[in-house]
Assembly symmetry: C2
């Protein structure tokens, strides 16, 4: 729907790095890491200052930021028909925004080298702004958020992207963020703060392919970039990269194709049952809530722990907060295949407890192998992860939201199935070109964050 | 987004009635009313067979159909910051579908003259199909739903409309229905069941303007009709009717205008706080739950009562069910104005407890005057209801969903403010052409049912 900027992004995705504009991104991350000291230390929940753990929930004394509640779930999706779990409540709508500007005729995005306490590689590139109303209304008394004014009513730049998108439905209850890209005129002078650098999409894609260099918020906004143009504008010699860019501008993804995909998704929403009910932490089944942590009796899934963070460079100097720590490593993957000449990815319609509208499109594969005791319970296509190495087109670890999740890395993979391989699909799986998936995504709450993260990494 | 059919609907909206295709619609309603006898009698909740009233909720013994739960609400919208209320839970996604066919070159929709127990005028025109999965999977052991196969995967016709849309957010908790229009080929023979008639949009608009002849489900699907074409195709001599049709195809409602409206709506979603929590009926404040009914201590708002229904012509012969009965009459209205030559309506961004995503666009005015003790609490623009009679372009009573609401009529009004009148807008109000509002609506969960109902009545 956003016509403006589409061609500019296709060009930016193929632009050679300009040393005049951007210093070496890895050097920027390294310098930022050296320049600011910080320490992140796990602590018992009971030690968290200003946080209160009751039978009902774990909340900040102001009632703001976020809380940990319980949720009871019943669903016809997957192999577990009913369970209860802790879940993060964060009703505010945060802004995740990249400032964009054409520099030397090439579209650049302004990234921040930002420390987040949960990430193993603590300093990564984030959007220009990542802020909730609690942040930018300064509930915690910190410093103001730089560049925020470009994203707010009144002084806002030209909107290229503005989409409400969900976050992890397995961990957040109906959380969504506002993904924005806002462009300023070519001749406007934008002051360049410490830790901020202008990057082309091509540079960002190199960082994404390397892994652990672009944070989750950066990846979700990048997934929303609107590509437009025609094949004559694709100059890359790499055949797979060319196939990705061609799929991003696939002319077959027209209004009829979009309506067909929407109707298929609505069929899935109608067919899959999901009922959720917020409950007290004390009413969670198979769950231990004590002074130390909130955890499953089996040690599986994830636990809620406390952390103490001391960092000079955040908006405030030091703080304590709960974080969610997965106890098993996660894997996500798209199967892709050239179909009638166009690269398509295999999406899965998934019901998750925290989704705004029950079902969204996730990647082909999304699971934590360590949570499965029996091979027969593994989700469809899990065996494709053991396919030939030549099928793997991308494989990179990426951090989940380092503001909420502690040491949570998900291995991102893209697996290309040969053209002549027949893939049998369950009813809730469907092939889509990247352009079609992008059009669905722009409607909001249609494409889950794991699929969006993979989309961003595809380059 | 749905290009197909747009011109055909513009033509259908101006098509003279063809006696060869359709008998007099009022005669059809009258005949249907005479042919089938039915009786609807209020009964105490305790008398409802197969329904169970507990401290938690009022539910059917099968756990299906719907239930009455409690919800606690906190919001920054409106003048009441926090309250609790009974609310209808109905997680299933029902199908509301019109079958469409070109007959004699004119697009017709297949309407059913259908009895619904809650409507004062019990027999009204409904979509071809209105059915929840509980209905069509025959949980109540009734007869099958005619024409349903045209709307289901496998034998489905050409999809002209397929949109998930919300229902009343003040009464339903996150309920949505699937609004569909499905077209069959011109030469396909569609068997015509008793009580079914083919109607043009022009005929439906006459019925809508008269009031109480097209049920709520009919109105919501009709609001989704995609209009397309150019002004040369508008032949009507009535200047107001011409202005409506011109606004429906307003060429200024392009992608940029849509992005602007979406960004404005997202600003409202970010600015308005709403937190809801499902609670037990016994925990409702200021509420009496007894064998008779569930009601507010003041007698305001609405009450939950029981009804006994005996009707030969429904899927089952007789049944009992709870219904929601408003205790005050409701009024909804759009202010409209010609702005730069194009008729626009004034929409209000509203937060309602049951909305899927917190805020949707409602009509300019939506309230029940009898619930207000003090004039200073009246919502903005309420005084426009007392304006000159010449400003009133449409005024018709319409029934709310007669399957859930008992004797619930809302007065629908369209009030045209003169071109030279200056209207001062609060931040959550905005003028939109009908085409722009329609484009927002097609995204789902953006336009509330009261606004959609008015849109349908606009013709």
């Amino acid at each position: 729907m956003i016509a403006r900027g589409g061609n500019a992004f296709l060009a930016s995705a193929q632009a050679p790095a300009s040393a005049a504009v951007t210093p070496d991104p890895d050097a920027v991350l390294a310098a930022r890491t050296r320049a600011h000291r910080f320490a992140v230390t796990p602590v018992p929940l009971a030690a968290l200052k200003r946080w209160q753990l009751t039978d009902a929930s774990l909340t900040h004394e102001t009632g703001r930021f976020f809380s940990i509640d319980g949720v009871a779930v019943e669903t016809s999706f997957g192999t577990t028909p009913r369970w209860s779990q802790p879940i993060i409540q964060q009703p505010e709508i945060g802004i995740l925004g990249f400032l964009a500007q054409q520099i030397g005729g090439v579209m650049h995005l302004l990234a921040q080298a930002k420390m987040e306490p949960g990430n193993r590689t603590m300093v990564q590139f984030s959007p220009t702004v990542q802020a909730t109303p609690s942040n930018y209304r300064r509930v915690h008394g910190g410093r103001s958020t730089p560049y925020l004014e470009y994203f707010l009513e009144g002084a806002r730049g030209t909107v290229l992207v503005d989409q409400l998108q969900s976050e992890q439905g397995t961990r957040y209850y109906r959380k969504r963020n506002r993904n924005m890209i806002v462009q300023v005129p070519d001749d406007e002078r934008v002051p360049l703060g410490d830790d901020f650098v202008w990057l082309t999409l091509a540079q960002l894609h190199v960082l994404l392919a390397a892994g652990d260099r672009v944070n989750m918020n950066g990846r979700t906004v990048l997934s929303c970039v609107p590509y437009d143009g025609n094949v004559a504008e694709i100059a890359t010699a790499d055949p797979f990269r060319r196939a990705v860019l061609e799929s991003r501008i696939d002319p077959r993804a027209d209004d009829d194709a979009l309506q067909g995909a929407l109707t298929w998704l609505t069929d899935r929403r109608a067919a899959l049952d999901l009922d959720t009910r917020r409950i007290r932490l004390a009413d969670l089944e198979h769950c231990i809530c004590d002074e130390q942590s909130i955890r499953h009796v089996t040690g599986k899934f994830f636990q809620i722990i406390g952390v103490e963070v001391a960092a000079e460079s955040r908006e405030v100097g030091a703080w304590m907060q709960p974080m969610m720590e997965p106890t098993r490593e996660g894997v996500i993957a798209f199967l892709c295949q050239r179909r009638a000449g166009v690269l398509e990815v295999l999406v899965q319609a998934r019901a998750e407890a925290g989704f705004i509208d029950r079902v969204e499109l996730g990647p082909t594969i999304l699971f934590s192998p360590g949570n499965y005791d029996r091979p027969e319970d593994l989700p469809p296509f899990a065996d494709h992860l053991k396919g030939p190495a030549s099928w793997v087109k991308m494989r990179a670890p990426q951090s989940e939201d380092g503001g909420r999740f502690y040491h949570d890395e998900t291995l991102h993979q893209l697996i290309e199935v040969p053209e002549d391989e027949t893939v049998t699909l369950p009813a809730n799986y469907r092939w889509m070109s990247l352009r079609l998936l992008g059009r669905l995504m722009r409607r909001g709450y249609h494409v889950a964050i794991e699929a969006r993260s993979l989309l961003a990494c595809l380059g």
